[in-house]
């Protein structure tokens, strides 16, 4: 059973690596360095203006630590067919799940350490703790995370005492109480509270480890975890396993109804309706648009806004490309008496609309913030216009031709 987990983990890590390579491509790493550098600079400046005795500082610390404890979920790597194929081995699945627990814990602990390093300077400045206190806090954080994960472990079983898998209790209430002890009383007391919580949760293992598994919950939990992971990757690349859900979005009908119902517009009709209603596509578009606009609102300078707006227009356009093939699995489009030449033209038109909207929003945001530097505003507008034209009419046809050959 441990073997099985190791095997699954290898496949899983391979898949994750494949996606991570796509996510951390050169452009993204560059953008990321910019963001991290900027935020770090901002953080260190902000710290200089702080001092001890701020009433809101402890609350903020507790809030950040609470968020930290929520990160890192229990990865079981269970698949739906397991409940049929592994049915006779259910009793041994405890060993399998324990391996999963260890793996999940190692990742979760890494996240906790990262957050701990991040808040450490803030705590230093606002609370003036001793060095040992900070280590006690880290221990508390890790122990709470262990309790958190153990609750999720217990959830996979048909329990006699349901409170052992009570998520709000072990995920929120216990951590809030513990951190309150740590920050407001002293760090030792917080550690003691967390150790008690962990002991209660661990001793219960004997009680449920021999009971029957709750396959339905286990499979649903793992699917929801993987869905979150894929959704993240889908921001950067096309994830085939992610089947988008669909929303009606009646309010866009005003725009969609402008499309004339003539054969030439068959694909235009399909693409326009598809992109608007497909949650993955429209979600991606809106998310990136909002993130980009926020960046442009907060960033000041002469060149940086131009660079950022161009980067985001490219990112958004790039995300939309795979949708060109969205309907190629549908038998209807192959049966329609419509020639393919309109397919590209229609897709280009849809992209032109989408990217122009982005361009206008960005330009307005830049103009509103940097209204004194005319040169930046003009740079953004001209740059975007050139970029969108080149993207839609030069880059897109070539890129699609290349993908078509691979298919």
């Amino acid at each position: 059973m441990k073997q099985l987990f190791r095997q699954r983990l290898t496949t899983h890590l391979k898949e994750m690596m494949r996606y991570l390579r796509l996510v951390f491509n050169d452009y993204f790493v560059l953008a990321l360095l910019f963001v991290i550098g900027g935020l770090g600079y901002y953080y260190s400046n902000a710290l200089k203006q702080l001092h001890t005795g701020l009433w809101w500082a402890p609350i903020l610390i507790i809030g950040i630590l609470l968020v930290s404890v929520q990160l890192g979920r229990f990865a079981t790597l269970i698949e739906a067919p397991d409940y049929v194929f592994l049915l006779p081995r259910e009793a041994e699945l405890y060993q399998y799940l324990k391996s999963g627990f260890k793996y999940s814990l190692s990742i979760a602990v890494a996240i906790q350490v990262l957050f701990w390093i991040l808040v450490m300077p803030f705590i230093q400045v606002t609370m003036h703790p001793m060095a040992i206190d900070l280590y006690l806090l880290l221990a508390t954080l890790v122990i709470l995370k262990m309790t958190w994960l153990n609750t999720d472990f217990a959830r996979k079983y048909h329990l006699k005492r349901n409170w052992l898998s009570n998520r709000p209790l072990f995920r929120w209430l216990v951590p809030v109480i513990t951190f309150a002890f740590s920050i407001y009383v002293n760090y030792w007391s917080g550690l003691v509270v967390s150790v008690v919580a962990l002991a209660v949760s661990y001793f219960s293992r004997n009680q449920w480890a021999t009971r029957s598994l709750d396959w339905t919950t286990m499979i649903a939990d793992e699917n929801s975890r993987m869905h979150t992971v894929y959704q993240f990757f889908n921001l950067f690349t096309d994830v085939p396993t992610l089947q988008g859900s669909v929303k009606r979005r009646r309010y866009v009908d005003v725009i969609l109804n402008q499309i004339k119902l003539i054969p030439k517009n068959t694909y235009l009709y399909l693409y326009a309706h598809g992109i608007v209603r497909d949650n993955e596509m429209s979600g991606l578009y809106v998310r990136l648009l909002v993130i980009g606009t926020l960046f442009l609102v907060f960033v000041k300078g002469e060149i940086l806004p131009i660079f950022l707006s161009l980067l985001f227009v490219y990112l958004i356009g790039f995300q939309m490309i795979p949708f060109y093939f969205h309907f190629s699995d549908n038998a209807f489009v192959h049966v329609y008496p419509v020639t393919n030449e309109y397919q590209l033209k229609s897709f280009q038109r849809v992209l032109l609309y989408l990217l122009t909207t982005v361009g206008v929003v960005f330009a307005v945001a830049v103009a509103a913030v940097n209204f004194t530097t005319i040169i930046t505003i003009i740079g953004v507008i001209v740059g975007e216009a050139l970029e969108i034209w080149a993207f839609v009419y030069l880059y897109l046809p070539r890129r699609l031709a290349k993908s078509e050959r691979v298919r």
Binding site: F85, L87, P88, A91, H158, T210, L213, W215, T216
Partner: protein, 245 residues
Amino acid sequence: MTLQVSNLVGGYSQVPVLKDVSFDVKDGELVGLIGLNGAGKSTTINHIIGLLTPFKGSIKINGTGLNDDVKKYKEQIAYIPEQPIVYKELTLKEHLEMTMLAYNLDQDESWKRAHKLLKLFRLDNKLDWFPDNFSKGMRQKVMIVCAFLTNAKLFIIDEPFLGLDPLAVNDLLNLISERKKQGASILMSTHVLDTAQRYCDRFVLLHDGQVRTEGTIEELRQLFPDAGDSLNDIYLTLAREGDAS
């Protein structure tokens, strides 16, 4: 006595779908679980294989309850789901190996049996294919081959006849009767009533989460003398009566 379901009350959420269901399956017996859509057939089966926990009542296989000894309970079961469910990333051969691993079967002997079964269901040339790409009927055959590879004492088969070709249905029925002779018990849910009538030893008629009646076809005929001879007629009469009351 292989399977003993007593006073089972259960369902998915707080609202019980099954209301006090009791029946049994003896050694070497094929029992048909008959009912309309939504009568509670699959819910009953989900309780037996341990996907759901009973609100009340008990389920025992050869005297062992699920939470008495999970290992002993589960080792005795082979299950064929209504919707065939396969691993996306495993080939047919690997599915069989997975089954052998899970049930701790002897490799050489199992492969001999596997080849026979594969030939029977005309899958023998597809060992390196991915069942995920098969048609529903073929995936169903994969599930059947995997289940009959085992030496389970209790076979639980959820609606096997939909999607299978007539030849495969016939072969499946032969496999079932062969296992019956060796002493295994089989619980099969279905609403293909004429096939059920010909092959099942006994019937449990579920309606609206309750066992309306159970027995052999002769016993049922005596209970409903006016309904007609076939299981079909008897069940239709019973279902209409149930709706009227």
